[in-house]
Amino acid sequence: MTDGPDMKAKRVAANPSSEINTGTVKSDAEAVGRGRGSEPAKRQTMHPLVELTLTRVREFVREPEVIFWVFIFPVLLACALGLAFRNTAPEKIRIAVEGNGKNQVVAALERSGDVVPVVLSEEEAARALRTGNVALVVRVIGSQISDQGSQISDQGSQISDQGSQISEPRSQILNQGSQVSGQGSQTAFPQLIYRYDPTRPESRTAKLAVDNALWRAKATDNDLNARDETVAEVGARYIDFLIPGLIGLNLMGSGMWGLGFAIVSARGKKLLKRFAATPMRRSHYLLSFMLSRLLFLALEVAALVAFAWLVFGVVVRGSLIDVALCAVVGALAFSGLGLLVAARPRTVEGVSGLMNFVMLPMWLLSGTFFSAARFPQWFQPIIRALPLTALNDVMRAVMNDGVPLVSHWTQLAIVLAWGLVSFVVALRIFRWQ
């Protein structure tokens, strides 16, 4: 207890620096840092932009789940949509036929091959229509030749000979039973009533198909010499339409998600603030994201194009260089947009909401899954100004139509403008802490 002074002496001795510097300061203040073995940067590190980009790449490839979302997911999406909308024989529509003299009608419908007629009682037919089991009910009303069904089916020409008049009132066939039969009393064909719900597209199709079948049944080969020729030409299928759109969508998704999350989580961890305390040029940091996107872009687009070619036979009609250029411009634009979206939010939740707000309209409007032309005319200028719409248009023009890139320079300019403006604004409003 009494060794206080000794202990104090010991403490002071252990900490000799505590008494320095109260008066003069070290005379080697000259050496404030200089010449302590500093070396020029070139020897061991590359340009900061290269190092930053390498960092992006490393962080990216060391995150296995990212690989899935960027490479596998779009391919799976293309696969699912390609299968869902594959070009197969169209499904046959079921038609209920009821009433007397139906055999003749049934035979005519069966021969057409477009619809599947089912013979039902009146009650059954009504229920089948109600439950959607059939698309249309054809009610046959009193016929002179009601019992000659088999005869007719054997000799189809007989019908067509007799009923050339029947084609005339086709336009009058309305729902709930306009009369189909001709005026002449000798008409061999029965009167028909079509029962259907006109708001069901399937029913309207069925009506037209039935109508058409019966009309053909009546017509001579001379009267009507039309054949169906179905179109399944490469370049005009749904999958051909879809793939360029999916490329655009993927460029948007990986640009936005890839940058948005990386930047906002770095902000949350105060890593951005730490970078702000270095002489790192801020534009370098943001540019490194765009550059790293370009590196992965090639793989991303190639994976999708190769997949579409191998599995669905989708071919690129234009030049591959144009496709690549188009993808580069798209990737840059969406990286810029990603930077802009990530410029302010402090939390990952915040940036997710913002990204969905930006991306969802483009998912719907920009003509990825169906043509943007379906939207009303007054809305078109807005849709056309969206970066994804412009990118999809250019991509389709190059891939499907095989036109050179320059022919769509306005769309290309729209995409580029989005990227440039976003990048500049992002750099200005970027929150570093």
């Binding site: 207890m1 009494t2 206080g4 002074p5 202990m7 104090k8 403490r11 002071v12 900490n15 620096s17 505590s18 008494e19 320095i20 510097n21 109260t22 008066g23 003069t24 300061v25 070290k26 005379s27 080697d28 203040a29 050496a31 404030v32 840092g33 200089r34 302590r36 073995g37 500093s38 070396e39 020029p40 940067a41 061991q44 590190t45 590359m46 340009h47 900061p48 290269v50 190092e51 930053l52 390498l54 960092t55 490393r58 962080e59 060391r62 995150e63 770095a266 961890k269 105060k270 890593l271 603030k273 730490r274 702000a276 305390a277 270095t278 002489p279 790192m280 040029r281 802490q433």
Partner: protein, 341 residues
């Protein structure tokens, strides 16, 4: 309670060197020319809405010294440091770092000469130690060898490990390595050892001391008095956004006028006034229900205390004594403990 002690201590500290008059006394002297100032701020104020984080702070950091900002959480240490680092603009007041003001020219050029370790920065988890240091190295025109810095902070065995796999102490050393890789003139360390175990703390202290030997200037914030006593040439004690005392740790402690602190608790209520009159006792504080006596001569004070307790028929529950520390300086200045966590 013992207001007189506080006033007296403050008076003594004022005599030592307070930020305000210290410059005026020194500038005219012959030493002034040799004394280089690494950083200086005058009348620094930072407000966040209604909250005043820094309230009229004057401070001068000399080249080559290690200056510690010691204070409890919320005292304004981090805000002060971030203003000096050029990360936060002050509401008012002037700041000068290495002879330049932020925003007066090329800030990035000034940053070339600084090394910064921020409180709670999480470096990218997927990068390795060497990659992280190399990235930071690339931002500076001149600097140290990446491997040398990794060795300096004793992470050479971990140089190819990912940051995510490092322990807390290793991460802090990596953060310091990123600050040192520029070979800075001025190094900022914001609570570098908070949350570290004693061994990790010791390793980090050694890194800082190595940097000091090279002649670098350090500004360090801490709420550990041991850290301030070990590393700092001078300590500025901060509370409520301003500096309430400044000096070498030894002088600050000496200003207490006491070597020892005697802490005790009793079951009964005591008459405090009589305690102050005991021989060898300079002051009395009540801390968390226990009494603390600042004592000049423990050989006199202890027997006197025991006699007094007997006289008052008080039963002693606990009794400890310790060497006076910066903590005791803080308590005598503010009546509060330094660490309330």
């Amino acid at each position: 309670m013992s207001l007189w002690v506080r006033e007296e201590v403050q008076e003594m500290l004022r005599g030592l060197e307070l930020p305000g008059n210290h410059m005026t006394t020194e500038l005219g002297t012959a030493h002034a020319r040799e004394t280089r100032v690494a950083a200086r701020c005058l009348g620094l104020v930072k407000r966040y809405g209604d909250v005043t984080a820094v309230n009229g702070l004057d401070l001068e950091v000399r080249a080559g010294e290690c200056l510690g900002l010691l204070g409890p959480n919320g005292a304004g240490k981090t805000t002060t440091v971030e203003i000096l680092e050029g990360l936060t603009p002050p509401t008012s007041g002037t700041v000068e770092v290495l002879g330049r003001a932020w925003g007066s020219g090329d800030d990035n050029d000034l940053r070339q000469h600084l090394g910064v370790q921020l409180q709670e920065t999480q470096l990218a988890e997927k990068l390795t130690v060497a990659e992280t240091v190399r990235l930071f190295r690339s931002f500076y025109r001149r600097g140290r060898d990446v491997d040398a810095v990794v060795r300096l902070v004793e992470l050479d065995e971990k140089r190819n490990s990912r940051v995510g796999k490092l322990s807390g102490g290793q991460r802090q050393r990596l953060a310091v390595a990123c600050a040192l890789v520029s070979d800075p003139d001025l190094l900022f360390l914001d609570e570098p050892t908070t949350g570290l175990d004693p061994q990790a703390r010791l390793k980090l202290w050694e890194v800082v001391e190595t940097f000091r030997r090279g002649g670098g200037t350090v500004i360090l914030t801490t709420h550990y008095m041991e850290e301030a006593e070990r590393l700092c040439d001078r300590v500025a004690i901060m509370d409520h956004g301003s500096i309430i005392a400044l000096g070498t740790p030894a002088k600050l402690i000496a200003a207490l006028g006491a070597d020892q602190i005697v802490e005790f608790s009793v079951a009964e209520q005591l008459q405090e006034e009589t305690l102050t009159t005991l021989s060898g006792v300079r002051g009395v504080h009540l801390r968390d229900g226990a009494y603390a006596l600042t004592v000049t001569d423990i050989a006199l004070a202890l027997p006197a205390l025991l006699d007094e307790l007997e006289r008052q028929h008080a039963k002693l529950v606990t009794l400890t004594t310790h060497q006076a520390t910066l903590e005791d300086v803080f308590v005598s200045l503010t009546g509060r403990m330094l660490r309330n966590d």
